[in-house]
Symmetry: C3
């Protein structure tokens, strides 16, 4: 029995997309599509308590999981562990063990540190599931899933001829890492990664990708542009000279979008810095799938929570 699968080969926790078998990934995406199409499962998690346990604040992701849990009939609780008074110096593991002892069966965990969510999953009791809602720079598996769902809706399930470009601060992005794992797993034809050298990760993370710092070239003929948020702290850290330079070199504008395929889509995990990594015109344009990504987020999280927590029939 691993952290990822139980003794029956069933999906146990969702910690990353690296360890999720391709057929498991595909099954989740198909169920998520059903929810996106309006499938109901209002009693699937009746009587099941799910707790968001965020060691790093994120209102938006918390809300998406909360809506997903409520639509499955779960009881949802929030534990904001990002303030010290919440945990009063106890270990993260004792915090999880304590809430688990109260009868909570599902944990949606976000943490600043890489690997911290998997470490917490290791102390979960049998029958208790942990979903990684983002840890450090490592993983954000539900974001990866919702991005794949969005790509499928635009371009179909066969990714073998798909060309995707991922743009910006890949180095510090757990979204990017989860997307890269998923794109490879689903056999994406070509993955391009583009950004200033200071924001690109090590070669290992980028294996199999076409890497460039020339944004215009990178856009040529792509089917999807996956833009990443530029955190303001990259400026104070000296990794980026100025907002203006960044926008000039890596900001997605209407002019640039024309280099992509005609039916190419624009994606962004939010929250957006308008005028920095993306222009208003593109963010709100016909090719933008940014709000559809948000909608898919709820559908994906419903599929994940149902899969992990509903009683086997």
């Amino acid at each position: 029995m691993s952290l990822h699968l139980d003794a029956n080969g069933q999906f146990r926790h969702l910690l990353d997309l690296e360890h999720l078998p391709v057929d498991g990934l595909d099954r989740l995406l198909r169920r998520a599509q059903a929810f996106a199409d309006g499938a109901q499962a209002a009693q699937a998690l009746a009587g099941v308590a799910v707790c968001t346990l965020f060691f790093e604040p994120s209102t938006r992701t918390r809300l998406s999981f909360q809506l997903a849990a409520q639509r499955l009939g779960a009881q949802i609780l929030n534990f904001d562990a990002s303030t010290s008074s919440a945990t009063k110096g106890e270990t993260d593991m004792d915090t999880l063990r304590t809430i688990q002892a109260m009868g909570v069966r599902g944990f949606v965990v976000r943490h600043k540190q890489d690997g911290a969510v998997a470490a917490l999953a290791a102390v979960a009791n049998p029958g208790v599931a942990v979903v990684n809602a983002g840890d450090g720079r490592s993983h954000h598996p539900t974001q990866g899933l919702l991005d794949m769902l969005t790509l499928r809706q635009a371009h179909g399930d066969d990714f073998s001829t798909l060309k995707v470009v991922m743009v910006g601060d890949v180095k510090h992005s757990r979204v990017a890492r989860s997307d890269l794992h998923a794109l490879r797993a689903l056999g994406c034809g070509e993955i391009r990664v583009c950004g200033p050298a200071a924001l690109l990760p090590d070669d290992d993370t980028l294996h199999g990708c076409v890497v460039t710092d020339d944004f215009d070239a990178a856009l040529d003929g792509v089917d999807a542009m996956m833009m990443l948020r530029l955190q303001r702290e990259r400026m104070t850290e000296g990794l980026v000279d100025s907002i203006e330079d960044y926008h000039r070199d890596y900001g997605l504008t209407s002019l640039r979008v024309r280099r992509a395929a005609v039916n190419a889509i624009v994606m962004h995990p939010g929250p957006m810095n308008r005028g920095v990594e993306i222009s208003d015109e593109v963010a709100d344009g016909a090719q933008s799938r940014i709000l559809q990504q948000v909608a898919n987020g709820v559908a994906v999280r419903m599929a994940v929570l149902e899969s992990l927590l509903s009683a086997p029939e």
Copy 2:
């Protein structure tokens, strides 16, 4: 189609009381009275998600809306947008669009800036409703409605012979503005406004009102005393000399209440500064309707949410 009414002339958002037709106002008040009398509608909003979106904190108003939504069977979520980490620099409109994309159908919005709630309503999708829970100094329509309901309960539906005095910091009060709109719309016989000159608004806001700084005279024979909260910052801004002076000149005491009609009622939107705008004796006295206002708040909010969000039959 306006922001206030949809193509069928149905009530679409509740942004202010200025644009609500009198018969719409009357219908809401009658439905609220039914809820106050114990009418149930526990399934009216089953499966509908409502989100409080507060760019300015207000625990009390949020709680009242939350109870109202729960009693209608809605799913209720809270998004506290008053901390910067919640919105991470995205625009208010992107915040609303994002939560809307998650499937939320009702927004209860509070904002520091005048007009900000109406601006947010302008980006709401068809089928999505926005309720203004207070913006700047402009509007607080559900407070206006609950005050009107309280007046009707005491003095009947015909306001033509009603004399009301509103006392205190009218200038900075959205409650006062919403009350003034509603009192005029319902044909209130006489509206008196009383307070120190520095706390009175422009003539336009006061049109049709009898204005005075003599509190004792203003109380003479009135049927209702609507006291306003004095924010402590009025002192630091130099608009009021001292708490003691303010209480002496504009504090409602038992002695002063005797100047009003014998069956006059005392109102206050809360939270009260006891010993400042109102004495303990009056706040807790037989003529006080302050807690009844709070109770009416839930009934009014149920009527508003039901009206905006329940499926047409």
Copy 3:
């Protein structure tokens, strides 16, 4: 009619364990055991609104009450009164009166000041119940109840031959005071209290207890070790020299546990300071009932809320 019992001798508020008759205490513990064994009462509080009203933050206790309320079908709301913006200078009593006027029927209140929760209960309307979730150093009755339930599960309902030791900062602990009341009420055979003199309370609190500062002697043959959390501020206050000294003298280690009876249990109200009042080995050892205490907390709170708030049949 007292604050504790209504005109029919029914349990009205739960403010402390001093005023709860022994048969009432026993009835609650038996009902809690039924909930711990899986009894369901998913509709017991359907349509009843319960509000947590915390003037001092405590995420863990709030969560436990929240889960208990949800399992009884109640609507649960949270009012965090520990920030000044929440109450805006109004009195605590006005805060309770206001939420009560909204139709909330149950209040779970925590407060820094001794006696503050009882003072709030005094303004509750008939039909409204207050549960003390901890006030000052005085009372924490649901913690006392869950500790008694845990002792019963290990050693049976007859406490007459039971030997218990309570260790640590008894002086500042409301948990200790509630446990002492409950142990006496249930006829505990021997209550030992152990800690440095600076952390022991007055004689009145300790009446009937065997008091010592010799931890090894105090452990001899006991059936239960009730460890208390050492707040870090005891160091800055000069009441304790150092963490190391405290651990050496009053930290529970495996070596020390052997002095107790073979079937003795280890208890701690959490959150634990591992390596201070308790070693990892003991906290996670076979004799630890710390997580069982947490589980019992939900069962006890279900019994209390049901008893106070469900309609008489």
